[in-house]
C-alpha cells in the first residue's frame, strides 16, 4: 500500500514557466488531495525550502514531517512513480524518460533565443526538432499506454506530451512562431490520439475543459 494514499500535496510554481503542468495533470488524474500556490516571485524566495520553484510539498496524514522536493524533473518522476503512472517495465520507463529529456533539451534553447541570451542555437534547435519529430511516432508505439475506455492506463508520457503541446507550443505561437509551426507538424494521428485520450479522461474533465480552444482537433 502506498503511503501517499493518504498524502496531500502542495505544488508551488510560477504559472508562466509551464514547469508544473505535467505534475498538475498527474495530481488531478490520480484524484490526489492537492492545492496549487503561485507565490510572488522573487519576494517569496527566502520562504521556500530550497530557495527555488517549483517545489512539491507532501504532507502525510500520520504526523511525520512534510516532504519537500524541488527540481521539476524529479518532482514529475516522483509523482509518476508514487501515483502509479510509470509502465511496469523499467526499460519502457527509461524510454519514456528519454523522450521527456529530448523535449526538455529543446525548451531552454528556444527560451534563451527568445530572451536574446543565446542566439547561435538556431541550427541546433532545428536539428533537435527534426530528430524529435522522427522519434516521436515510434516512441509512442513502443512505450505508449493501453488506453481503456474511461481513460485509465494513461502514463507519464501521455501527460508530458499533453502539457508540452498545451503550454510550451502555445507559448511558442506567441514568441517563436517558426518553432511553433514545426512542433505543430508533429501532431500526427498517434500524437493527437494521446492528447485526445488525456482530454477525455474523466478525472481531468474540469482541468482540461477549456483546452478544446487550443486543440482544434478536439472540437
Amino acid at each position: 500500500m502506498s503511503a501517499t494514499a493518504k498524502s496531500s500535496y502542495i505544488l508551488r510554481h510560477l504559472k508562466n514557466t509551464g514547469l508544473g503542468e505535467t505534475a498538475i495533470l498527474m495530481l488531478n488524474a490520480s484524484k490526489s488531495s492537492w492545492t496549487e500556490e503561485n507565490p510572488k516571485w522573487p519576494q517569496e524566495k527566502p520562504n521556500q525550502p530550497f530557495g527555488r520553484l517549483p517545489v512539491l510539498i507532501e504532507k502525510s496524514s500520520d504526523g511525520s514531517p512534510d516532504f519537500a522536493l524541488t527540481e521539476s524533473g524529479a518532482i514529475d518522476r516522483y509523482l509518476a512513480r508514487s501515483l502509479g503512472f510509470f509502465p511496469s517495465d523499467p526499460k519502457k520507463t527509461a524510454h519514456q524518460e528519454q523522450l521527456h529529456d529530448r523535449i526538455a533539451d529543446i525548451i531552454p534553447l528556444i527560451v534563451q533565443e527568445i530572451q536574446g541570451v543565446n542566439t547561435n542555437s538556431k541550427e541546433k534547435i532545428n536539428e533537435l526538432i527534426a530528430k524529435l519529430k522522427e522519434a516521436l511516432p515510434e516512441s509512442l508505439k513502443t512505450n505508449g499506454s493501453s488506453i481503456t475506455p474511461g481513460g485509465s492506463g494513461l502514463t507519464y508520457m501521455d501527460f508530458f506530451i499533453y502539457a508540452f503541446f498545451r503550454h510550451f507550443v502555445t507559448f511558442c505561437e506567441l514568441k517563436a512562431p517558426e518553432y511553433a509551426a514545426q512542433f505543430k507538424t508533429m501532431l500526427t494521428p498517434e500524437v493527437t490520439r494521446v492528447i485526445s485520450n488525456v482530454y477525455a479522461y474523466s478525472n481531468l474533465q474540469s482541468h482540461v475543459a477549456d483546452d478544446k480552444n487550443v486543440f482544434s482537433f478536439l472540437a
Binding site: T70, A74, Y78, P90, K91, T93, A94, Q98, A135
Partner: protein, 222 residues
Amino acid sequence: MANNAESAESTYTLRYFNVVGIIETIRLLLLASKANWSEVHPEWPQEKYDQPFGRMPVLIEKSADGNPDFVLTESRTIERYLARKYGFMPTDLKEAARQEQLRDLQADVGILSNEVRLGAGDEAKERLQFLIDRLIEFHTEVLKENGDTGYFLGNKLSYIDMALYGFFSLIFSHPPLSIPTYVQDIKKSITPEIKKVIDNVESHPLLRDHLIGITQLYPLLE
C-alpha cells in the same frame, strides 16, 4: 554479480567521447555494478548520424537471451536506469527522489558552469556562485541527516555518491577561465562530510583503479 532475472548477463557498450565529460557517473555505476561493459569512441562528427539522436552518450544493452538490443540515450536517464537496475537507487521513493533532486541540481550547475565558460556574463556568474553554495549546502545536509557516515545512504555506496564524484570531475575538468580561482574556491568550500564521500568513492575496490587516472588529472581535494 547482480542477479537480475531478465538479463543476468547483459553486456553493455557505452558510446561517448574519450573525455571525463558528463558520463563519469555512468562509468562509475557500470564499474560498481560489476557489469560486463566496454566503451567506444565513435569518430566525430563522421559517426554523428549513426547515433540514435545524433548525440552521445548512447548505452547499448545486449541481453544474453537473444532479445533485441536495448538502446538508451540522455545521460541522466541512463544513470537512473542503471542505478535502479543494480540496486544503487534507494528503494524508498522519497529517498530516491531526494537523490534525483540532488543530481538534477548538479546538472543545473554543470550547465550553468559551461555557459559561463562559453562567455555568459556577470549575472550568470553570480547565479552560478549561488547555486554552487546551495549544492554544497544541500548535499552536506543530506549527509548529516544520514549520520555523516561518508555515504548518502546508510553505510554503503549509492547513486548520488558516484554522481557527486562525477559532477566534481566534470566541472574541474572544464572550469570557466573567466573565474581564475573557480576550482580552488570550490575545493575550499567542500565540507568535511563531502570529503568523506570523495575518499570513500576513490578508495572503493571496484572504482579505485579507474579513478587513479582521473585523480591525477583533476584532483578533487587539495
